[in-house]
């Protein structure tokens, strides 16, 4: 396994014909390898700059299954480091968020600064006077590489990972609709909501990556309750876009996502701002802005543009995932708009949310059915809309017309297989844009 040239994981994904092997949603060995090959090598979303605005602010989260602290250092820089003491491995911070000058380990009292550096310890003289290989400089909390994009903070434990912008590829052009639609930028408000699902993390990730298909049927009750008659896609004015394994499916207009907040002030705010959005981002993106859409930035950062529900699918085992969900707003939006958006997101996309409530059971059962050995051997059909025409040239990335389909999901699994197979980042193919890569 892992020798150069052998494409073991690519065999699980048939991008041409549209099949995915069910084992990737169940197998413990595959999951363990994902932690190594995907999560320990990718840029992972760890938080938003507004969540650690002041020196000493911190929050705790996970990168894969590695517990980490995201911290605003004294010098104003951003640190991301393992939340595990180099002495015996205990966790050094137990709060979800807060502000502190230091993290002190409960076990023997080693203390770390908000850059993760070792400051001192209980009975330090023993270390100084009679200990082997003692070097305070080398005993800090293990650092990750940090990259930011317009307020969003990402980190990776792989020194060889490409720069964040290269990693994003053409996805960044779309991401600006979320984080750069207003000159004041964005902020996360109100903290996190978390819940547990007995599912493989890839099911929710692929769902946001490209699955507009489920909306019309699975969320029918929710959309009817809001006074609609169910989502209907127009394949001729919607598309799926992917680049380097990140995916964005969207209608090309309509702004219907904004109405999910069920708030007059929010709708007014967005409508009034549309000319500004067009000025900032251009006509193409202003049209897409707020349309029915969903997004996954590979591997596990997802959001709904317009509704501005953002979340991470934290992997906890082949059949366990935690949803960590936040609300993103424009910093300059009026307070009533921010509060309405906070309520709007929670009423639709949180464990008690009227739309999210429908999703969990599907993902759990899609995962758990693979306990059956015969079931597990079968392949899942991902051939939908693969013959669709390419999108217009003004849209960057790999674009296919129609938001209903499997083009994006397959691209996500292709990227997954790329990373699972590749010994190093140098072996990972460029999936930015098929046209460009071919040139």
């Amino acid at each position: 396994m892992g020798e150069a040239g052998r494409k073991k994981y690519a065999d699980y994904i048939d991008v041409e014909e549209g099949w995915v092997d069910r084992r990737i949603f169940w197998d413990q060995e595959i999951y363990d390898r994902e932690l190594e090959q995907v999560f320990a090598r990718s840029w992972l979303f760890v938080g938003h700059e507004s969540q650690i605005a002041k020196p000493g602010d911190f929050l705790t989260t996970y990168m894969g299954q590695d517990a980490v602290i995201l911290s605003r250092r004294k010098d104003g820089g951003i640190g991301v480091f393992l939340n595990s003491c180099p002495h015996r491995g205990n966790r050094v911070c137990f709060a979800d968020a807060g502000n502190t000058r230091q993290f002190v380990c409960n076990y023997h009292g080693w203390s770390f600064g908000n850059g993760g550096e070792l400051l001192g310890m209980h009975e330090e003289y023993v270390y100084r006077e009679a200990s082997k290989n003692f070097d305070k400089q080398k005993l800090g909390l293990v650092q990750a590489r940090v990259g930011t994009y317009k307020g969003l903070i990402f980190a990776t434990f792989d020194p060889d990972a490409p720069e964040l912008l290269d990693y994003m590829g053409d996805f960044a052009w779309y991401l600006d609709m979320l984080v750069d639609a207003d000159e004041g930028g964005t902020e996360v408000i109100g903290g996190a909501v978390r819940n547990v699902l007995n599912c493989n993390w890839k099911f929710p990730a692929e769902n946001f990556h490209g699955d507009a298909y489920h909306v019309g049927w699975n969320h029918l009750a929710g959309s009817m309750a809001f006074g609609g008659s169910g989502f209907k896609a127009d394949q001729n004015s919607s598309f799926q876009m992917n680049s380097n394994g990140h995916g964005w499916e969207t209608a090309m207009g309509g702004g219907a996502m904004i109405t999910a907040h069920n708030s007059g002030p929010v709708l007014e705010y967005v409508l009034e701002n549309l000319p500004n959005i067009e000025k900032r981002l251009g006509k193409e993106r202003a049209e897409i802005y707020g349309a029915i859409s969903s997004v996954t930035m590979f591997p596990n950062f997802s959001f709904l543009p317009g509704l501005n529900a953002i979340r991470v699918w934290q992997p906890k085992g082949p059949a366990k995932t935690e949803i960590w969900a936040w609300v993103l707003v424009n910093k300059n939006a009026p307070d009533t708009v921010k509060q309405d958006m906070r309520r709007g997101v929670m009423r639709t996309f949180s464990p008690g949310g009227m739309l999210e409530m429908d999703d969990g059971e599907n993902w759990e059962n899609a995962t758990l059915s693979n306990a059956g050995v015969v079931t597990r051997r079968q392949k899942l059909y991902y051939g939908m809309n693969l013959n669709a025409p390419e999108g217009p040239d003004y849209l960057p990335g790999n674009v296919r017309m129609g938001q209903i389909g499997d083009n994006n999901q397959l691209a996500m699994y292709q990227r997954w297989a790329d990373l699972m197979d590749a010994p190093g980042w140098g072996d990972v193919p460029d999936r930015r844009q098929a046209k460009k890569a071919a040139e």
Binding site: F94, A95, D96, A97, G98, N99, T100, I189, G190, G191, A192, V193, R194, N195, V196, L197, N198, C199, N218, L220, A221, G222, M224, A225, F226, N262, E322, A325, W326, V327, Q339, R342, R343, V345, M346, R347, S350, P351, G352, M354, E356, M357, D358, G360, E361, E364
Partner: protein
């Protein structure tokens, strides 16, 4: 954890036994109606200005001045009558897949305390709950917590005007929260 509602100061004087009994019966009846999924009926037990709130809980150090939750933080429920009606409507569309086959609910309500307020028609009521849901073959979800209610007498009948629900879970240990608590 403190969940005291400062908006309704407790008045001097103890509630009499009849009132305590009446409040208990109201809460037990409400629990039974929720168990039976009679959600339209449940809505009639609420005042039109109902505020139904279940904040999400954050772990913070004791020295932290920021509380585990506030009115500004995210909430699992932050509902008024309009949004509750939308939720109930969703339930009755016939397309609410995660409720078909139906969930089996049991709401256990206990630790009921009644306090008078400055308004003779409003009572502050504390209770604890244990909510058990089971579904399909063997799906099981448990949730425990405290509630702080404001009950108001409207035309002689008690109604729920405000509810604050504080669960012990900072991560909801379930795939959804398809239940009123």
């Amino acid at each position: 954890m403190t969940i005291t509602d400062s908006r309704q100061p407790a008045a001097a004087g103890a509630p009499d036994a009849d009132l305590i009994r009446e409040v208990e019966q109201f809460l037990y009846r409400e629990a039974r109606i929720l168990d039976a999924e009679e959600l339209e009926e449940w809505l009639t037990m609420l005042t039109d200005d109902i505020h139904y709130w279940m904040p999400s809980i954050q772990n913070r150090y004791r020295k932290d001045k920021q509380p585990a939750f506030s009115e500004e933080t995210v909430a699992l429920f932050e509902e008024d009558m309009d949004s509750l009606k939308i939720r109930v409507r969703r339930f009755y569309t016939g397309f609410a897949w995660p409720e078909d086959p139906p969930t089996r609910h049991c709401h256990i309500i206990t630790n009921i305390e009644v306090a008078l307020t400055d308004n003779p028609d409003e009572y502050r009521v504390y209770s604890a709950f244990l909510n058990h849901r089971s579904r399909l073959e063997k799906d099981e979800d448990w949730m425990v917590g405290r509630r702080e209610d404001l009950l108001r007498r409207v035309g002689g009948e008690l109604k729920l005007a405000r509810r604050k629900i504080v669960t012990t879970q900072s991560t909801v240990l379930a795939k959804n929260l398809s239940a009123f608590l």
